[in-house]
């Protein structure tokens, strides 16, 4: 046994790993609680990977069979309802935790030098997460997701010049059809996971390289006490993960994710069409945009505005070099604006029958 251990230690470089693990520390201060969000996001991501792989065993990616196969998973496959409900609920919790992670990193100014690249890879991971959410939403092929996808893939078409080509590439044709479903399936289970693996890898290596950021206000008070990552912080992380599993199981058991009605390309869009909650603010914004603003189509302006917002968000650490308070004010304004639009989108639609 000892021989096997020695053999493995030499080949795998376990001593170096153990050394790194012992060296890793987490600063302890009043805001330490925010350090749990990144680990929580990582844990929920692994839950998505695991349940996603399980769903692959029964799911059939075609417009004729997708809805029926999800129905089969929900109704006939033992614990299929559990796996699918955890995947759907988990996706929503994951997005929620990722957004909290991001907001806390922003306001604690954890992106200041030398952690700019960590922020940028994190921002890319958020875009990838939204891609996962958007592509996964269509896969059950129900009415709600069908029309949400029609709208969502027509939005890039508003970009001047390349818009229509982009929309065609996304849809796999000029309309949302079974070809779109195949594309979104490939995107959801192969293309996005491959890109995510690269960016997540870099993100995690950078976190190890630079260690945890201490907020400026606490840094100014002098040396911050720290706790060891292994085992002290990791144990606390794991308590959080256990709670997350309990919450997911509870949500899945008491509120199994609904499936809705099978998509019919020749039915009118029903009332109550909406995307996932994290896209609601853009969805509501699209309703308020007038058809033309100063002769330019309103949607084109809206899409260009969102694109600009995404670019600024991606490059925050490079733009905010003087750490001006205006960044905080602008971020609060964006959050409040998005929050108000989300609430408005949940109110009953005026003029709807």
């Amino acid at each position: 046994m000892a021989k096997v251990q020695d053999w493995a230690r030499d080949r795998l470089g376990l001593d170096q790993l153990a050394y790194l693990a012992q060296k890793k520390e987490v600063p302890v201060h009043g805001l330490t609680v925010f350090y749990y969000l990144g680990g929580m996001a990582l844990f929920l991501f692994t839950v998505q990977v695991a349940t996603g792989i399980l769903l692959l065993l029964y799911y059939r990616p075609s417009s004729a069979e997708a809805f029926e196969s999800v129905q089969y998973i929900m109704a006939d496959v033992p614990f299929g309802w559990l796996i699918r409900s955890i995947h759907s609920w988990g996706a929503n919790l994951f997005v929620g935790v990722v957004v909290l992670h991001l907001v806390s990193v922003f306001f604690l100014k954890a992106y200041r030098p030398p952690r700019e690249a960590t922020w940028i890879t994190g921002a890319v991971l958020l875009f990838l997460t939204m891609g996962f959410g958007f592509s996964g939403y269509l896969l059950p092929w129900n009415t709600l997701s069908y029309f949400a996808t029609k709208v969502g893939t027509d939005v890039p078409a508003q970009i001047p010049g390349i818009g229509h080509l982009l929309s065609r590439i996304l849809r796999g044709g000029s309309d949302v059809t079974g070809a779109t479903l195949s594309r979104f399936y490939g995107l959801h289970i192969a293309i996005l996971p491959a890109i995510t693996t690269v960016f997540l890898g870099i993100h995690l290596v950078l976190v190890q390289r630079h260690g945890m950021s201490v907020p400026p206000a606490i840094e100014r008070k002098g040396k911050t006490p720290a706790m060891r990552f292994v085992p002290d912080f990791l144990m606390r992380d794991m308590v959080g993960w256990l709670i997350a599993v309990a919450v997911l199981a509870g949500l899945a058991a008491f509120w199994p994710w609904e499936l809705g009605v099978k998509a019919d390309p020749f039915a009118p869009a029903p009332a109550g069409i909406r995307p996932e909650w994290y896209f609601l603010w853009t969805f509501q914004g699209l309703k308020y945009l007038p058809a033309k603003i100063a002769g330019i189509p309103g949607e084109t302006l809206g899409v260009l505005f969102l694109g600009g917002l995404a670019l600024v968000f991606l490059l925050v650490p490079l733009l905010d070099r003087k750490r001006s308070r205006w960044w905080d004010i602008a971020a609060v304004a964006v959050l409040i604006g998005a929050g108000v639009l989300t609430v408005l989108s949940l109110l009953p639609m005026k003029g709807a029958s």
């Binding site: 849809r171 070809a179 390309p265 020749f266 039915a267 009118p268 058809a291 029958s353």
Partner: protein, 150 residues
């Protein structure tokens, strides 16, 4: 012996690096081109019919009601106004491509996605739609409805 520094300028090594570099880029582009073309779906060659005979009978559409019918793979809204006239409009909302519906309570055409409305001539009346819906000519031949592109 005194060795003079070599004049900066083209050397054999630089020339070879240049050739290697450009060959590499050329090779990469030749791999990338088919992949990028592959990602763009081919144009579907729809039969460019100008007339479509529907399975729907004129009597099936009651006054002040509508129905979505597939025409050449696209949804078309076939409806009868309260005054009894049969009309057809493209059912693709000009805003963001949702499918519109005939709304009997208000005798108008409504898109549920972003609350856009059109009148029964297909003219955008309120909400975000930027353009009117494209009309189709409705002809009745015996017991059949025939739609014609305008």
């Amino acid at each position: 012996m005194h060795v003079t520094a070599r004049e900066p300028g083209p050397t054999r090594r630089k020339w070879i690096s240049y050739l290697m570099g450009t060959s590499f880029v050329a090779a990469a582009l030749s791999f990338l081109y088919p992949i990028l073309r592959y990602l763009v779906p081919p144009e579907t060659s729809e039969p460019s019919l100008s007339e479509f005979e529907l399975d729907v009978k004129p009597a099936d559409i009651a006054p002040n009601s509508g129905k979505i019918v597939p025409v050449g793979g696209k949804p078309v809204l076939l409806f009868r106004t309260a005054s009894g006239e049969l009309r057809a409009l493209s059912a693709k909302c000009t805003h963001l491509d949702c499918t519109v519906q005939y709304r009997a309570e208000r005798s108008d055409i409504w898109c549920a996605c972003h609350n856009g409305t059109y009148d029964t001539r297909g003219v955008n009346v309120s909400g975000p739609p930027p353009r009117p819906l494209t009309p189709l000519d409705v002809n009745i031949r015996g017991d059949k409805i025939v739609l014609k592109r305008v």
